[in-house]
């Protein structure tokens, strides 16, 4: 057995101490017997003293040992407990080297654990960032798509949509600015339920044949505004949805047994396409069927003429007359058809916005490619944007330049783009020989055939199509001549300037909320659902006065939406209302809405149904909601809409949260909760502040044990009655 040195020392010390004690006692006893110098009592006293001294010594040693090892261990245990609970805590130094060593070992373990924790946190952050990035990318992609995209869960609740869908499916303009499309809203307000159900059936695995869900289902439908839409529906499978991701089509791995959790709708507006197709069909039909009759007459007459050469002269003349007549009819017919067709040609060439400088640069390149011509810029206004058929215009410019080269040997042309009032002047300039006005006119009207390129259109056609004008001009003295093309100047396209975004909204509009995938059926009783899960319409009204039953009317409604605890600032309603009565000066002082602003605005009869549609399936939230609700309810009977939704009042909720505060005005609450107030006393501004206040209240209510709508309403009711009593 190997004993550490400290143990040997300690054992030796204890041994020596005991030895010294025994030696002292024995010595004292011996001393008495030999010389009898000490009495018995003295000896007992001396022995007692020695023993007491030994006891004191032993106690001191034990206390030191207890403090070092026993108490030290307990302290170590406590510190280790704390260390287990909180990362970053470390165990300190101990008098006992052994405990120090244990502490260090624990510290080492904690270090390893903290590093691991940091690692995991880092990975979670990374994963979250990459998910966020993917979502941003998806949102950006969606925003730029030329097609409308809508993603829904199986209940038909909208989880994602893009700007295009918003533009195409928003209600008719005259019904206020109500939005039919919004996160958490039902797709069935836009599309017929049975239409979607039928398409879904075709998507469902196992429906019909064994093939399972294919690429998707198609249907064509008409929107409320009369647009014809072709919809392509594809499935979102369960596996993908549980990851919070959208998996476009459920093709691929085990698609057939993955349950549907939602669907993607891709919509194309085919109204114009359809009309064009219909016209083209009519054209083809008129060319084939319309041609048969006259052609049959001509043929019969011609064959008769040639087969019966012996007929009488007047008879012959009648047959020739038939041929002449019918040939003319047929020519006219063809002419009409060709005209109709060329109109359709125009339709197929949409105008696009283009920076003028880019057009000039492209034109110079193109001119140089066709002929040995040196093109130069004479003048260039770089700020000009044009709305043009750029392809046609480039063709026209290079056609004219090539013709100048072919017919007059002009090798040096210049382009100038300048501003003339509200129009842009695009000049093709050259110096030297030039033609007369008549020749220039024929150039403008000839089909553009040059350098191996042919087009049925003329320069004039292209310019007409761009809503422009063209003419030829020359300055005899300077031998300078030019074709001038006048074109309307377009607005410079704004960066992602689509729709009207309120300033309050953050970096990018939130057009998606995949968490809605996890939401259960909409039919669930609202009362028992957690506040955090509900969709809210937060609104405010401005009115002509404070007395609705005395004839005061609403003059402005502002509303926004909260879905899954997010304020959807871009889904809003902001509508002035013609109250059909005078405004009092006092009320103008509050809301700043003057009578001239209300001229031409819709009346409440139009706005209230639109607002009603806007807040379908949501809980209403307002500050001092009783006031606003009174205005709404007074209109219910006459307008045939009913606001039966549950209502929450931020004023009452504030009283629930802070019963000891005197002030429950919106500003005061906003200040208490740290919400900055901008744009107060516009209905939308107040609705936005109310919404932010409400969002801040949700966690505070939860801390008080108020989680569900029912609890919130009951608590509100209690304070309401409490306040009434005072």
């Amino acid at each position: 057995m190997n004993f550490p040195r400290r143990f040997v020392f300690a054992a030796a010390a204890v041994g020596l101490f005991l030895l010294a004690l025994v030696a002292a006692v024995v010595g004292l006893m011996q001393a008495g017997r030999a010389e009898d110098t000490m009495s018995f009592g003295d000896r007992v006293a001396a022995i007692t003293m020695v023993t007491a001294f030994a006891c004191v010594l032993a106690f001191a040693a034990l206390r030191e040992l207890y403090a070092r090892y026993v108490q030290g261990s307990l302290r170590l245990a406590e510190e280790a407990g704390a260390l287990a609970a909180h990362s970053g805590v470390r165990i300190g130094d101990y008098a006992a080297a052994e405990l120090c060593a244990v502490g260090q070992a624990i510290n080492q373990l904690a270090g390893v654990r903290d590093a691991l924790e940091g690692d995991v946190a880092g990975r979670v952050r990374e994963a979250r960032a990459s998910l966020e990035e993917e979502r941003s990318r998806l949102a950006a992609l969606m925003a730029d798509l030329d097609q409308s995209v809508i993603v829904c869960n199986l209940d038909g609740r909208i989880l994602l949509y893009n700007q295009r869908a918003r533009d195409e499916l928003s209600g008719p303009a005259e019904a206020g600015s109500a939005e039919l499309l919004g996160l958490g809203r039902s797709i069935y307000t836009v599309f017929d339920r049975s239409l979607i159900a039928h398409a879904l059936e075709r998507l469902q695995p196992g429906a019909g044949d064994h093939a399972g869900p294919t690429g998707g289902a198609q249907f064509v439908t008409v929107t409320r505004s009369g647009r014809l839409l072709r919809a392509h529906m594809s499935a979102v499978s369960a596996a993908a949805a549980s990851d919070g991701e959208v998996a476009g089509e459920s093709s691929g791995k085990s698609a057939s047994d993955a349950a549907l959790t939602g669907f993607v709708l891709i919509l194309d507006d085919i109204t114009a396409e359809n009309e064009r197709d219909a016209r083209r069909d009519a054209l083809i039909q008129s060319l084939t069927e319309g041609g048969r009759g006259p052609l049959g007459n001509i043929r019969a007459a011609a064959e008769t003429l040639s087969d019966f050469a012996d007929m009488a002269p007047e008879q012959r003349e009648r047959f020739l007359g038939v041929i002449r007549d019918e040939a003319r009819v047929l020519s006219q017919h063809l002419e009409n058809a060709a005209n109709a067709f060329s109109n359709d040609l125009r339709v197929r060439w949409p105008l696009e916005e283009m920076l003028g400088a880019e057009l000039v640069a492209a034109a110079l390149r193109r001119i140089g490619e066709r002929c040995p011509i040196v093109g130069r810029i004479e003048a260039l206004d770089e700020s000009i944007w044009l709305r043009i058929d750029s392809f046609g215009l480039l063709q026209a410019l290079s056609f004219l330049a090539a013709r100048l080269y072919d017919e007059y040997g002009i090798r040096d042309v210049r382009l100038a783009l300048s501003r003339g009032g509200r129009l842009a002047q695009l000049d093709l300039v050259w110096i030297g020989t030039s033609m007369n006005n008549e020749t220039a006119m024929t150039w403008e009207l000839d089909s553009m055939n040059s350098g191996g390129e042919t087009s049925p259109l003329s320069v004039r056609d292209v310019v007409d199509r761009c809503n422009g004008e063209i003419w030829f001009q020359r300055e005899r003295a300077s031998h300078r001549a030019y074709f001038r093309i006048l074109l309307p100047i377009a607005e410079a396209p704004k960066e992602a300037a689509r729709g009207k975004e309120p300033a309050r909204q953050g970096s990018r509009p939130e057009f998606y909320d995949f968490d809605l995938f996890r939401r259960s059926a909409a039919s669930q009783q609202l009362d028992d659902r957690p506040l955090a899960e509900l969709s809210y319409t937060v609104f405010d009204t401005e009115t002509t006065g404070l007395d609705p039953s005395g004839g005061d009317e609403i003059i402005q409604i502002g509303a926004t939406r909260i879905v899954n605890r997010r304020l959807l600032g871009h889904e809003y309603l902001d509508q002035l209302v013609d109250p059909q009565r005078a405004l009092s000066p006092e009320s103008i002082a509050i809301h700043g809405i003057t009578p001239d602003l209300l001229v031409g605005q819709p009346t409440i009869a139009t706005v209230l149904p639109a607002f009603h549609a806007f807040c379908a399936d949501t809980v209403l939230v307002a500050h001092n909601a009783a006031f606003d609700m009174r205005f709404l309810q007074l209109k219910e009977a006459s307008l045939g809409v009913r606001f039966e939704q549950p209502v929450l009042d931020t004023l009452l909720l504030s009283a629930v949260l802070h019963p000891n505060q005197e002030m429950h005005r919106l500003e005061a609450i906003a200040e208490r909760l740290g919400v900055s107030v901008i744009g107060r006393h516009t209905a939308l501004g107040d609705a936005m502040v109310t919404a932010e206040v409400f969002l801040k209240m949700l966690p505070l209510l939860a801390a008080m044990g108020i989680h569900t709508l029912r609890q919130a309403r009951e608590a509100s009711e209690r304070t309401f009655h409490a306040r009434l009593r005072y």
């Binding site: 048969r292 049959g296 007459n297 019969a300 007459a301 008769t304 087969d307 019966f308 047959f319």
Partner: protein, 122 residues
């Protein structure tokens, strides 16, 4: 015995040729310029064959054909439909309604004459 042919067509420019051709063939030719007249003449004159245009005012060729075929007394009458529309659906509609043959404009006059002769068994 001379065979009697009724031409029912509202377009004089085709009637000229048809009338000339059929007279040259030695038939007795009658002309009707709308559907009602065609039906009346067919009942009154009992022609051996009717050249029936589809697109006619007052009553179209299909209806005339149907009315003629509903009369058992006229069962022997041959009906040849003429049309400027060449859709398959129309051809089979005409034949299903009881026409003996169907000719689409523009047609060869020789072929038409051959067809008329064969329908009349001449």
């Amino acid at each position: 015995m001379t065979k009697k042919v009724l031409i029912a067509d509202d377009e004089p420019n085709i009637v000229i040729s048809l009338e000339f051709l059929l007279r040259r063939e030695g038939f007795e030719v009658l002309v009707a310029v709308d559907g009602e007249e065609a039906l009346a003449k067919a009942r009154a004159e009992r022609p051996d064959l009717v050249l029936l245009d589809v697109m006619m005012p007052k009553m179209n060729g299909f209806d005339v054909c149907q009315a003629l075929r509903a009369d058992p007394g006229l069962a022997a009458m041959r009906i040849l439909m003429l049309t400027a529309k060449g859709r398959d659906t129309e051809v089979s509609k005409g034949l299903d309604l009881g026409a003996d043959a169907y000719v689409t404009k523009p047609f060869s006059t020789k072929d038409l004459v051959v067809q008329v002769r064969s329908l009349l068994g001449v």
